[in-house]
């Protein structure tokens, strides 16, 4: 195999930190390199150097043997290096075809040649297994999985020889992820190379031909095969032994706190019932589109139920708004923390005290000093690595998640719903989040955890409620919960 891309001694300094320290990397044609590391290990920096967003301070890049010095993303694209971001960069209002050929629509006499556009788009979509998709479909109507493939089709249409995939499976179900892996296999067989970034270590053996682990800006290890055990990778990533992946949940479970019965929201889910006890962790499992998030949002008052009842401590309650839900002690740590959990441009302090403004009001006045005190307290409570006076945007993913959890603590929650609590956070922060969940649990709070990572749900929950296509298809106690049982229920109906 010939080297497609070679990096030697790549170094990049940012004010106060060496983000990348003499990193070597060789990518061959048709090779899939899994690039791993904790948040802040230098993965993004490396990728940004490859894709022309930043320029290295030292070291050199060679592409097909020639010196390669991209000054901007357009240079990288011209050279055949495509980037597929975690959140796809497609315009939701435009059609798939227009998105793929954005900025280079085929013209005929100065007008867009739509038949040619459709033909060309169809050709690209066929390459990624979307031959049946109508190129005129607006991207907004597509599922996340399909959008991702469309984005890959777009990169391929630019004659990409190397595709950088940044956490492509973060929002995919296991089935969709498998489809993506198959696509990667096929394209790799055609000679397309991949740099594959992921936090899901268990998929590395499936997809990677080689594994590179970064830590503190350095390449700490490289395996020239993909078949590496997760524990080994974790050890390389954190530089120490991480003992148990999922700590055992506290054993004692108290009385019933929340009961939902016959919960229905038209078009999203139907007739969902379950209970949560004090100090119990209830997992909700299901494929993407099964209605997990939708159920969570209704319980937290974010959306309204069309039918169904809520009871708290055996008494009927009404939950018609987040305000009411929070008043009853039902709070949500939402799936998309950047869009629904945090006001990114506000300070950590103002984010973490947002639900408590009324409670902190004395004689009509809420004193900034009181908010600072409260936020310092909460930061300690969740072991936040960051200052209350920095903007929420500048925190790492794991620490942002801690803020979203911490903001509910002063409200004395009875039920905390975690929707994808560890998505996109690194190994260390994951452990911290599990610990917070357990601490709440030990205090008698009822927990609902939704996760697309089945091992996570199985690892932390006392009981797993399985949804399929908006209906409850079963409930599995911890002792009997294994992947096969849950998957069988998840694909039912």
């Amino acid at each position: 195999m010939t080297a497609l891309l070679e990096a030697r001694g790549l170094t990049k300094d940012f004010p106060g930190i060496r983000a990348l320290d003499e990193v070597d990397l060789t990518v061959r044609r048709g090779e899939v390199i899994a690039l791993l590391g904790e948040n802040g290990a230098g993965k993004s920096t490396l990728v940004k150097l490859l894709s022309g967003v930043h320029q290295p301070d030292a070291g050199e890049l060679r592409l097909r043997g020639e010196p390669y010095t991209p000054q901007r993303p357009a240079d990288a694209i011209d050279a055949g290096i495509g980037m597929v971001h975690q959140e796809t960069n497609l315009l939701l209002g435009l059609s798939v075809a227009e998105n793929i050929f954005l900025g280079r629509l085929p013209l005929a006499r100065g007008m867009v040649d739509y038949p040619a556009l459709r033909r060309a788009a169809h050709e690209q979509l066929t390459r990624v297994g979307l031959g049946d998709l109508d190129p005129d479909t607006p991207v907004g109507k597509l599922s996340v999985a399909v959008r991702q493939k469309a984005e890959i089709a777009k990169a391929l249409s630019l004659d990409a020889a190397l595709l950088i995939l940044d956490e492509p499976t973060a929002s995919l179900s296991q089935q969709d992820a498998e489809v993506l892996f198959t696509l990667i296999d096929e394209l790799a067989a055609e000679g397309v190379a991949f740099v594959y970034i992921s936090h899901r270590l268990e998929e590395v053996p499936r997809v990677g031909d080689s594994v590179v682990v970064l830590r503190d800006g350095r390449r700490v290890v490289m395996w020239d095969h993909g078949d590496v055990a997760s524990e080994e990778i974790v050890r390389a990533m954190v530089g120490r032994e991480v003992t148990r992946k999922y700590p055992e949940p506290p054993a004692t479970v108290g009385a019933e706190v929340l009961r939902v019965e016959g919960l229905t929201r038209a078009g999203a889910f139907e007739d969902v019932s379950f209970t949560v006890h004090a100090g119990e962790i209830v997992g909700i499992a299901g494929l993407v589109g099964a209605g997990r998030t939708e159920v969570a949002r209704v319980i937290a008052g974010a959306d309204r139920a069309d039918r169904g009842t809520f009871s708290l401590d055996g008494r009927r309650i009404r939950v018609r708004s987040p305000e009411q839900a929070i008043g009853h002690g039902i709070v949500l740590v939402p799936e998309d923390r950047k869009d629904q959990g945090l006001v990114l441009d506000l300070l950590v302090r103002d984010n973490v005290t947002l639900p408590s403004l009324e409670q902190e009001t004395r004689a009509g006045v809420v004193r900034p000093a009181a908010l600072s005190r409260l936020s310092a307290l909460l930061a300690g409570e969740v072991d936040l690595r960051g200052r209350p006076e920095q903007s929420a945007r500048t925190l790492s993913g794991g620490n942002q998640q801690k803020v979203v959890v911490a903001k509910w603590l002063p409200r004395g929650p009875r039920i905390v719903i975690f929707d994808e609590p560890t998505r996109g956070v690194d190994v260390g922060a994951k452990q911290a989040i599990y610990q917070i969940i357990h601490r709440l649990c030990a205090q008698g709070v009822g927990i609902i955890v939704i996760s697309s990572e089945l091992p996570e749900v199985l690892g932390i929950a006392h009981r797993v409620v399985v949804l399929a296509k908006g209906r409850r298809t079963g409930e599995v106690p911890r002792a009997e919960a294994d992947e096969q049982t849950v998957m069988r229920l998840a694909v039912k109906g």
Binding site: R72, P322, I326, D339, Q340, V343, D345, N351, L357, V366
Partner: protein
């Protein structure tokens, strides 16, 4: 003085010369960056072009980064005052400065509401019309219905608050974009003011009412200026110390996050638009007192000056940021430019051009500074 007043109907009384002096950091920097971009780009390929743009940028950013985040507009104002003092000896007198304050008092009153609305990521285009409506209702209540002036004042402000409340309802429950809802109110309130006054000014008010605009404490400090100062203190306290005030920044920053955090977003928005309407009507009363006449055309296009003052003061139209102190400085900048250019004998046509340049320069400075992070 009465007739030229702040004349909200004519936003185009401005001038020129002070431009480069004041426009300050933004413009000076921009001018330096431009040649940097151009010349090497002609000489050589893309690389040179990129490097140099970056260098020009850095220069500009270093300059703007030195300013404290809220102090940018203030420094602009001080520069402006310094330059005008040199150019016109009449400018820096106590009387003239209070004159400026009095001239901006109506604009500044409305701009408080504008700040709250813009922080919440909204916009209120109706304030100029609601100003006229408030004045018209008060005038009609006193002159036509024959009720006491005190009742007329309450009626005027209540109608303004109601108009703002309707804006709020249209936006929250009617789910109209604020731009559309308040554009509709701009048209309706103006129409209502014309209907009530039958298109004619309503003149002749009790002396005590006129004193609101004409009485000078200790012979120099206009009462209306004190009133506006009090409003600013209240608004500052509201944004800093009231839960709703603090929540406004969260609502403007990300409404869904605020809602999921248990903030009653609808109630907060209703409040904000209602207050904006009430303040607009109060502005209408101030203007009526000064002119001794309620004019159905009063406040025409004043909403644009309000937005300008808020934006020059550092608020972002994308919501989540802004301060009343910044807005006050923004209103002062507009007032000082108009006053100074008048003193220098610059035509109102030119003043309009200068104010436009200041808006662009101020926001550009702000954007460049924010790019730092």
């Amino acid at each position: 003085m009465t007739e030229e007043g702040p004349d909200p109907r004519n936003p185009s009384e401005e001038g020129s010369a002070v431009d480069e002096a004041h426009g300050g950091q933004g413009e000076v920097g921009a001018r330096d960056a431009t040649p940097g971009q151009d010349s090497p780009a002609e000489v050589d390929a893309k690389t040179a072009d990129v490097d140099d743009t970056a260098r020009g940028d850095r220069w500009l950013r270093r300059l703007t980064a030195r300013l404290p985040s809220s102090g940018g507009p203030l420094i602009g104002l001080l520069l402006l005052v310094a330059v005008l003092s040199v150019l016109s000896p009449a400018f820096l007198s106590v009387n003239n400065l209070f004159n400026v304050l009095q001239q901006i008092s109506v604009l500044a009153t409305l701009a408080i509401g504008g700040t709250l609305v813009i922080i919440s990521r909204g916009i209120d285009l109706s304030v100029g019309s609601v100003l006229a409506l408030g004045g018209a209702v008060a005038g009609w209540t006193f002159a036509e219905a024959g009720l006491p002036m005190g009742v007329a004042i309450v009626a005027g402000i209540a109608v303004g608050a109601a108009a703002g409340g309707v804006n709020g309802l249209l936006i929250t429950y009617g789910r109209l974009p604020p731009f559309i809802a308040t554009l509709a109110m701009l048209s309706m309130a103006r129409g209502a003011a014309l209907v009530i006054t039958e298109g004619q000014p309503i003149s002749g008010y009790p002396d005590w009412f006129r004193l609101i605009a004409t009485y000078d404490l200790f012979g120099v400090i206009p009462f209306s200026v004190l009133l506006v100062a009090l409003l600013y203190v209240l608004a500052w306290l509201f944004l800093r110390y009231r839960p709703t005030g603090r929540a406004l920044y969260a609502i403007g920053g990300n409404e869904e996050v605020a809602r999921l955090s248990g903030i009653n977003v609808r109630r907060a928005k209703l409040k904000v638009y209602t207050v904006s309407g009430a303040l607009a009507a109060l502005g209408g009363l101030l203007l009526t007192a000064r002119l001794n006449s309620a004019q159905p055309n009063a406040g025409f296009t004043l909403e644009l000056d309000v937005i300008a003052a808020v934006v020059i003061g550092g608020a972002s139209l994308t919501g989540g940021s802004g301060t009343v102190t910044g807005t006050l400085v923004g209103a002062l900048i507009i007032g000082v430019i108009r006053n100074g250019l008048n003193l220098l004998g610059v035509s109102s046509f030119w003043q309009s051009i200068v104010i436009g340049a200041v808006i662009a320069g101020a926001v550009m400075t702000d954007t460049l500074r924010n790019r730092e992070d």
